[in-house]
């Protein structure tokens, strides 16, 4: 069982090849699909609040994802790290299965169960051969709704949690993401998706049960089935008995602050961010286009610095190896738009100043039409690529039910106006910023000095 994580609610960009499994069940269907006769998504909202959605994708592998609209942002101060702990402890005994039984049963039916969580969502994904899906769902529903969280099993598994923290602390590129969130938000979204060390001793059975009781509720559960019959999925939903309390979510508030962690690493990571837009905001696509126009991780050519706006301008200021990209995250009520700089101790100050110069240049004169078209193309490619994979599909569906229709998504990207993109960048350049940095910061000016 894997315990994976996704830092931002983003797609798995490593699945570059579109996957098409020819299934013996659906040989006849393949002929029909040539005429673009795709199945559509069926959705049902049950009385207890669970949303059930299914799509027939003619794959020999059935997938059932239980997505809970809760994550690290719902942790109170005392509960920090609960979502990380629940992620690590998800294979422990449930009411009707022992931990050993879960592993062996899943192996026996040839199924894979993985759990990944972001700041806002926790996804339990079961992948299994079509015939065995109901046995797999027995186990999935137990893990989601009836974990026992026995105190000795948690004590035994603590070392796994600590191992994950050790690995995390050695990766500044992961730490910088959590640090920029901590610097940019006063609450909720400032929580890291990793447990803070000071709270690890408190992550005990009662605290975790309390967190589950409050946040793992029926109205926050979405069951997504790919390659599963819709009526079957509705029957499966009966096994997911969660608390029916209604849960409220704290609104995230942006704040401008600076978080610097000093050490002697010569490779310095800096992130600068401004408040972005939420998923349902009409500017959401404009923010994504803006990020692609600056240069993001999605439109990089492997092993090269690329020809993005940031590479051609800011990166040239570096004397030693460096990297500059922009990032854009859209959460449910707000977002984060910013830049990630990596450079050596002596270069990082110039890179940061160069970044601000480039940002104000784009804010005043805007992107050219050619740059915007290029950005739209790379955005369309990355969205289409992610929708090609099951995990990308599930993530997209969680963000918005209309985010999964490829043709509509591509059309809406095309409909983004250059004025909107440039207006967005103008706003980002003039609004409050926050800064996070880790490494040898001797040459890195403070945020106040950078903004003049």
């Amino acid at each position: 069982m894997m315990s994976s994580l996704s830092l931002r609610a983003r797609s798995n960009l490593l699945s570059a090849m579109p996957k098409r499994f020819a299934s013996s069940l659906s040989a006849s269907k393949m002929q029909e699909s040539n005429k673009q006769n795709k199945e559509s998504i069926k959705m049902t909202k049950l009385d207890n609040g669970i949303l059930v959605a299914s799509l027939e994708n003619s794959s020999p592998i059935s997938r059932v994802a239980a997505v809970l609209n809760t994550g690290s942002r719902d942790e109170s101060h005392a509960e920090q790290g609960s979502s990380h702990a629940l992620r690590v402890f998800s294979n422990l005994a449930t009411r009707n299965f022992s931990s050993f039984g879960i592993t062996r049963n899943l192996d026996q039916i040839g199924a894979q169960l993985s759990i990944s969580s972001t700041r806002e969502n926790t996804t339990y994904l079961l992948e299994s051969v079509r015939n065995n899906i109901s046995r797999g769902v027995d186990i999935l529903s137990e893990i989601v709704s009836r974990p026992e969280l026995r105190h000795w099993e948690i004590d035994d598994a603590k070392s796994r949690l600590e191992f994950e923290l050790e690995v995390y602390e050695q990766q500044p590129e992961l730490k910088i993401v959590d640090m920029i969130h901590k610097a940019s938000f006063k609450n909720s979204l400032s929580n890291s998706i990793y447990a803070p060390r000071f709270n690890v001793p408190n992550l005990k059975s009662e605290l975790l049960s309390g967190f589950r009781q409050k946040n793992f509720t029926s109205n926050r559960l979405t069951l997504i089935g790919l390659g599963v019959d819709h009526d079957d999925l509705i029957r499966f939903a009966d096994q997911f008995r969660l608390s029916t309390a209604s849960s409220t979510r704290q609104a995230a508030r942006f704040i401008s602050s600076e978080l610097r962690e000093e050490n002697l690493d010569d490779l310095v990571h800096v992130a600068i961010a401004a408040e972005g837009v939420g998923q349902s905001n009409k500017e959401a696509l404009a923010s994504a286009v803006a990020s692609h126009a600056f240069g993001s991780v999605y439109n990089r050519i492997k092993y090269s610095n690329g020809a993005s706006r940031l590479s051609r301008s800011v990166l040239q200021l570096a004397k030693e190896s460096a990297g500059v990209t922009s990032f854009n995250v859209n959460y449910s009520d707000t977002g984060l738009f910013g830049f990630h700089l990596i450079g050596s101790t002596n270069d990082i100050g110039n890179l940061a100043k160069g970044l601000y110069q480039e940002l104000s240049k784009v804010a005043t004169s805007g992107f050219s039409n050619e740059e915007i078209n290029r950005a739209k193309n790379s955005l369309k490619t990355s969205l289409a690529n992610s929708l090609d994979s099951s995990q990308g599909f599930i993530e997209a569906f969680t963000k918005g039910h209309d985010h999964v229709n490829v043709e509509e998504v591509l059309k809406s990207v095309d409909a983004v106006q250059s004025n909107d993109v440039n207006a967005f960048v103008k706003r980002v350049a003039s609004s409050k910023h926050s800064l996070a940095a880790i490494g040898n910061l001797s040459e890195l000016p403070r945020l106040e000095e950078l903004r003049v």
Binding site: S98, F100, G101, R104, N105, Q108, R150, H151, W152
Partner: protein, 125 residues
């Protein structure tokens, strides 16, 4: 009674979830109880279970305070036995206090071991 409070509370919780049923207040246990000697030392019947690997694992799973009370009772009993005396009659274990706090854990450990053996021997579920 400091030596029994947490154990009794814990046993009540176990009884609520239906894990254990009765104490020494029914049937054969009720008849045999006054004839036993362990009650004179203030021990519970589960305190006397001989330790082997299974029991040790079950003891590991006891909540901290229940385990400490068990240690207290055992230490007191050893003390009494070495001084060849018993507790005053007021402090003898009452039948309703003789809760079975350890047996459920022993059963759980045994079941887990059986499950592992079944799977490894190919007797699939």
């Amino acid at each position: 009674m400091a030596q029994l409070k947490a154990t009794l509370a814990f046993a009540r919780k176990l009884a609520e979830t239906g894990v254990i049923k009765g104490t020494a207040t029914q049937g054969l246990n009720k008849a045999l109880f006054p004839l036993s000697k362990y009650l004179k030392y203030g021990l519970l019947s589960d305190d006397l279970i001989k330790e082997n690997d299974t029991v040790r694992e079950a003891l590991r799973r006891l909540p901290g305070d229940v385990f400490q009370e068990r240690q207290y009772r055992l230490a007191r009993a050893i003390n009494l036995s070495s001084g060849k005396s018993v507790l005053p009659e007021a402090e003898w274990t009452k039948p309703e206090q003789d809760v079975s706090y350890l047996k459920p854990f022993i059963e759980q450990v045994v079941n887990e071991q059986n499950e592992r053996d079944d799977w490894n021997a190919g007797r699939l579920q």
